[in-house]
């Protein structure tokens, strides 16, 4: 047995990241408490290095490790996004952990390990590999959700996430086992060959597909597999929530789409209606329930459900039967674009929540934002931009994301879907604007005036700057990102 060196070079970024995670775990005990920040900076450094390595692979399509791993532009796109999100999460966490008094260096190792799991997900060419990636990511996130062990809410969210996550991964794995039974392989390409050859009447494929959709529906928080999302997002430390809401969702979408298209691309009529229905109820429920929330994190959780619904429009288009390949690719690229944009605005929004303090606690109630515009003009304005963008109103990036998604939908002949999506986008404006409203149009009570404040650090400022720059810049000059997404979606088969 020889080490497949060539393959190892291909997964160099993963290796670097895992290596750094291990290094942090090792260095943690011997690092004095006040120097632990160094470990965070090291993680950031490795992310930069990895991104450079990964980016160099753009435009190629290479298989590695007995075709279990694929490295194509599609994967590169997602990985770059994941690096960015992880980096921002780490930066955000540096201040947040300190304030919340959960300064554990393991945290950064966990971010890196979860990232490694996600990277496996996005470049997995094999169901089992993807499953393991999911598990690596999920287990890491279960633990990270419970990082505030001294708070029952955090543990509770961790427990719920864990129970439901394990449940869903059991379902997912069962689906994989059936697929294996039907096709004799778990590699996407081979599944595709068998499924396509066999036609669409095999009930076992149906069942397996359904189980996969349940499993991934859980990961991307699609209705009715979404119910963990609000509880977990609310209870988990905010920086972790941001990470979950963005990175885990993006990676899950990446894997989900790849599986659906690469393995089951031949039986699109079998699943596209199902996804369509899920898409609609997800958009509807996410936006509806978000209206009545009083907790910002919970509201953002529902909003992330709704956005998952929007992203599913991309999946629907990509999987719509009877359309040209170019339109299908447009579905893929619009989804990629959407999630990239979503990442910026969601990270920004969660960062704002993370730095808002009410006395010694996190200010996560909508009420806590009351009159923020009076005391922190800049902060309130940033939140305004994020909310406006989440609502999809130009000239922010949120609009561009929706524009491309709906353009793809209309192109696929699904104008009515675009209309439904937009109706709920209009409804969503209500709850996003409510935050703007409390910030700008309400007078804070004297108590709020006294106790709520923004805890800004250089790192968080940088995160916010990044997010707002992304939101505004992508809103005004989305061209480059659109091109990259288009290119990526084309190399993806």
């Amino acid at each position: 047995m020889t080490l497949p060196l060539a393959d190892l070079v291909l997964i160099l970024p993963e290796l670097l990241i895992v290596g750094m995670a291990c290094l942090i775990l090792v260095l943690d005990p011997i690092t004095p408490p006040h120097k632990k920040v160094l470990l965070a900076w090291m993680s950031l450094g490795i992310l930069v290095v990895s991104s450079v390595v990964t980016a160099s692979g753009f435009g190629e399509r290479v298989m590695a490790f007995s075709e279990l791993v694929v490295l194509d532009s599609y994967a590169v796109f997602w990985k770059m996004l994941l690096y960015l999100v992880s980096g921002l999460t780490i930066l955000l966490s540096m201040g947040y952990l300190k304030v919340e008094k959960i300064q554990l260096a393991e945290y950064y190792a966990f971010v890196l390990l979860a990232l490694a799991g996600m990277m496996v997900m996005v470049s997995g060419a094999d169901l089992l590999t993807i499953y393991l990636g999911i598990e690596l990511m999920s287990i890491t996130l279960y633990i990270m959700a419970g990082f505030k062990r001294f708070e029952l809410r955090s543990i509770e969210s961790s427990a719920k996430y864990f129970v439901l996550g394990a449940f869903s991964s059991g379902i997912l794995l069962y689906g994989i086992s059936i697929i294996f039974g039907v096709t004799g392989s778990t590699r996407l390409v081979e599944i595709s060959a068998v499924v396509n050859g066999r036609g669409i009447d095999d009930p076992l494929v149906f069942i397996a597909l359904m189980l996969l959709i349940v499993g991934f529906g859980f990961k991307v928080a699609a209705v009715p597999f979404h119910m963990w999302t609000p509880d977990v997002y609310e209870g988990a430390p905010t920086s972790v929530t941001a990470f979950m809401a963005v990175a885990s969702k993006a990676a899950s979408f990446a894997a989900f789409l790849r599986i659906l298209l690469e393995a089951f691309g031949g039986i699109k009529p079998d699943w596209n209606l199902l996804i369509l229905v899920i898409c609609i109820i997800t958009v509807a429920l996410g936006n509806l329930v978000a209206i009545v929330q009083t907790n910002v994190k919970r509201m953002l959780a529902y909003s992330s459900i709704a956005h998952a619904g929007y992203a599913l429009i991309g999946v629907v288009v990509a999987g719509w039967s009877g359309i040209e390949a170019a339109v299908s690719a447009q579905g893929v690229s619009s989804l990629m674009l959407y999630l990239a944009i979503y990442s910026f605005m969601t990270i920004g929004a969660f960062s704002m929540v993370a730095i808002l303090r009410k006395g010694g606690l996190e200010g996560e109630e909508i009420e806590d934002f009351t009159g923020l515009a009076k005391r922190h003009k800049g902060g309130a304005f940033l939140m305004l931009v994020f909310m406006v963008s989440l609502a999809g109103i130009p000239p922010t990036a949120g609009f561009i994301g929706k524009l491309y998604l709906f353009m793809a939908a209309v192109n696929a002949g699904l104008a009515w879907l675009a209309i439904i999506g937009l109706i709920f986008a209009a409804i969503s404006a209500f709850f996003y604007l409510r935050i703007v409203m409390v910030m700008y149009m309400r007078e804070p009570s004297s108590e709020q005036e006294l106790h709520t404040r923004l805890v800004l650090s250089t790192q968080v400022s940088f995160v916010l700057a990044c997010a707002v720059t992304g939101v505004v810049l992508l809103g005004i000059f989305p061209g480059p990102l659109v091109s990259v997404a288009d290119l990526s979606s084309l190399t993806f088969k």
Binding site: A159, K160, V163, L164, F167, S168, I171, F206, I207, M210, L211, I213, V214, G217, F218, V223, P224, F225, M227, W228, P230, D231, L274, L285, L288, V289, A290, I291, V292, Q293, I427, F430
Partner: protein, 633 residues
């Protein structure tokens, strides 16, 4: 081009007074009076120019172009115009002079002058218009000026209401006028007289289906429709029944403006308009008849109401109403020249009467109720004598201007057919009433015992020269106007119209003259009998004919009827529409959608119970549903 100055001089005065009135204040008349006098002099020049029968056309500028609509403002001066120009400038000049005395020391002195200057300008432009739209523009402008002037003493509730009422009622008329103009445009493709009138013969026979929109069939001549629409405008402006209600209320304005509005300018615009559009009306017998009947009814109703009013100005106002009815009736019966003739003479003696009223009122310190007058003829001799001349003219006393014009008018009516005969008889009857109430006015005000508030009684004296001078001039005119040969002068403006060839000979003319004179004298005698000889009689009569008396006193209850059928229902409807439709239905639907969405959120939210097993259950339900769907799919 010099004639462009006729309207422009008053405009200049208005602009100067409007912008700098604040500083000019008491010297305002030094701006306004010369301007109007200038217009008057220029009008005389125009008269000379026009006498040879040549109409003048003075283009000003292109107002607007749009599609095939082309509107250029311009001046059109023919005999009709010149007659009106003279009337307007003379009366306006005299009113301006009179105002110096009447409004002396008022805080709104400059404002008043600027407004009457604007008023004069508007009226001059109106009569000089060479197209329908320009006529309409200044038609409305005249309305605006009357609004401003009637509301001059806006501190009074009644003045405010009267001003608004005048504008609104006029608007109703203008609505019809506007429709008429629109119909003219879509029918003829132009709004200029010179382009429209030549097309008339070609279009005369065209029909339109009024019920086309609802699938019915009721055809009517285009010309009739146009004329009726235009006539609605005239009804509003000339205070014909049923849009006459604004005019008596308009007495709330200062007296000079009453004179200007009621004698020379605004109210005559309607008659002028019908006369100006004679070529149109001539093509529609139906419309002509409508005009005649409306005029006749107005004539009669105005006179009956004037019988019992006690406000000195209101009596004169209702007499105006009645006289306008005469003119309109004449126009409707084809006697445009007679109508215009009466319009001009009426302008003179009605201005005289109003200004005389003003003199009385000012002498009695703004007392307008005849019950508090009486016996003034010694104290106010000039006023009395001039007023008497006016009253005689109004009554059609022989050899006064009113005699000639009314006679001409009634004769024209009598000669014009069956309807004309009926209306002529009504006209004669009205002449009786006219004479009666005119002299009731004279006797009650100037004769008999003084009922003046003793407090003011000893201060009663003849007003200043500025006020008596116009009275004298007008008195002269009230007699002289009958001898100027006005009908002959006007004749070229109405080719083909009857009654242009001087006084009629023959038995009809003679009979009419005698009858009318007799009626006038009878009325005067009656008034003398009732108000001088047997002072208790009026009350007894009123008591005896209670219902008729009330009908007359309360102006046939028209105001009340409008209040109940139009004004209140409109306001109620507005209130109800707002509360029961806008708020309760439309806005509730909007808010209801929002509430329904939020409610959906509340309901859906309950699913999120916080129990992990529920969540797992939801996932399972999802799976079951999907599988089930696949079974049945």
């Amino acid at each position: 081009m010099l004639y462009a100055l006729i309207p422009l001089l008053p405009l200049l005065a208005f602009v100067i007074l409007g912008l700098f009135g604040h500083w000019i204040k008491d010297r305002s008349h030094w701006v306004a009076v010369p301007a109007v006098l200038g217009s008057f002099i220029l009008s005389i020049m125009a008269l000379v120019d026009v006498t040879d029968g040549q109409a003048l056309q003075i283009p000003l500028y292109t107002w607007a172009d749009s599609g095939n609509l082309h509107i250029a403002l311009g001046l059109f001066v023919d005999q009709l115009t010149v007659a009106m120009l003279l009337l307007v400038t003379i009366v306006s000049s005299l009113v301006h002079v009179y105002t110096i005395g009447y409004m002396h020391g008022e805080p709104g002195y400059a404002r008043f002058f600027s407004n009457i200057a604007l008023f004069t300008f508007s009226m001059l432009m109106l009569v000089m218009s060479d197209n329908f739209l320009q006529l309409f523009i200044f038609w409305e402008a005249v309305g605006l000026c009357s609004y401003l002037l009637i509301g001059h003493w806006y501190e009074r509730e009644s003045a405010r209401a009267a001003a608004t009422k005048a504008f609104l009622v006029n608007r109703v008329g203008d609505f019809g006028f506007m429709l008429g103009i629109l119909l003219v445009f879509v029918t003829f493709g132009s709004l200029h007289y010179q382009e429209v009138f030549p097309q008339l013969d070609r279009t005369a026979g065209s029909l339109v289906n009024l019920l086309g929109a609802v699938g019915g069939h009721w055809e009517i001549s285009v010309m009739t429709l146009i004329c009726l629409f235009l006539f609605i405008g005239a009804v509003g402006k000339s205070a014909q029944v049923p849009l006459h209600v604004w005019l008596p209320d308009a007495m709330e304005g200062p007296t000079p403006i009453s004179a200007l509005i009621h004698a020379a300018t605004m109210v005559t615009a309607g008659v002028f308009m019908v006369a100006r559009f004679a070529p149109l009306f001539n093509h529609s017998p139906v419309a002509m008849n409508v005009v005649a009947v409306v005029g006749g009814v107005t004539m009669f109703i105005g006179a009956t109401i004037a019988l019992t009013q006690t406000d000195i100005k209101r009596v004169v106002a209702y007499s105006t109403l009645s006289q306008l009815g005469y003119m309109m009736m004449a126009c409707g019966l084809g006697g445009y020249i007679a109508g215009m003739y009466h319009l001009l003479t009426h302008g003179a003696f009605k201005a005289l009467l109003f200004l005389g009223c003003g003199a009385v009122i000012i002498a009695l310190h703004h007392e307008q109720d005849m019950k508090h007058m009486g016996g003034l003829k010694d104290k106010l001799p000039v006023t009395y004598w001039t007023f008497l001349i006016g009253a005689l003219a109004l009554s059609g006393f022989p050899l006064t201007a009113g005699f000639f014009s009314k006679d001409e008018l009634l004769l024209a009516a009598w000669m014009s057919g069956d309807l004309g005969k009926v209306l002529a008889v009504l006209g004669l009857l009205t002449a009786l009433l006219t004479a009666f109430y005119s002299f009731r006015l004279v006797f009650v005000t100037f004769w008999g015992e003084s009922r003046v508030d003793p407090h003011h009684a000893k201060h009663v004296h003849e007003p200043s020269k500025a006020m008596t001078f116009p009275l004298l001039i007008l008195a002269v005119l009230s007699i002289l106007a009958g001898y100027l040969g006005i009908p002959e002068f006007l004749a070229p403006a109405f080719p083909g119209a009857e009654g242009g060839g001087g006084h009629h000979e023959g038995s009809a003319a003679m009979g009419m003259m005698v009858t009318a004179t007799a009626m006038g004298l009878l009325g005067i005698a009656g008034a003398y009998w009732v108000y001088v000889k047997s002072p208790g009689l009026p009350d007894r009569l009123a008591h005896q004919w209670q219902s008729l008396y009330q009908l007359s006193l309360n102006k046939w209850f028209v105001d009340e009827a409008y209040d109940r059928t139009v004004v209140m229902p409109t306001l109620n409807l507005a209130e109800r529409l707002w509360k029961r439709v806008d708020i309760a239905v439309i806005d509730s639907a909007v808010n209801g959608v929002a509430r329904a969405v939020a409610w959906g959120g509340w309901v859906t939210r309950r699913l999120q119970s916080g129990q992990a097993q529920n969540y797992a259950l939801a996932m399972t339900v999802g799976a079951v549903v999907i599988l089930g769907a696949m079974i049945f799919y």
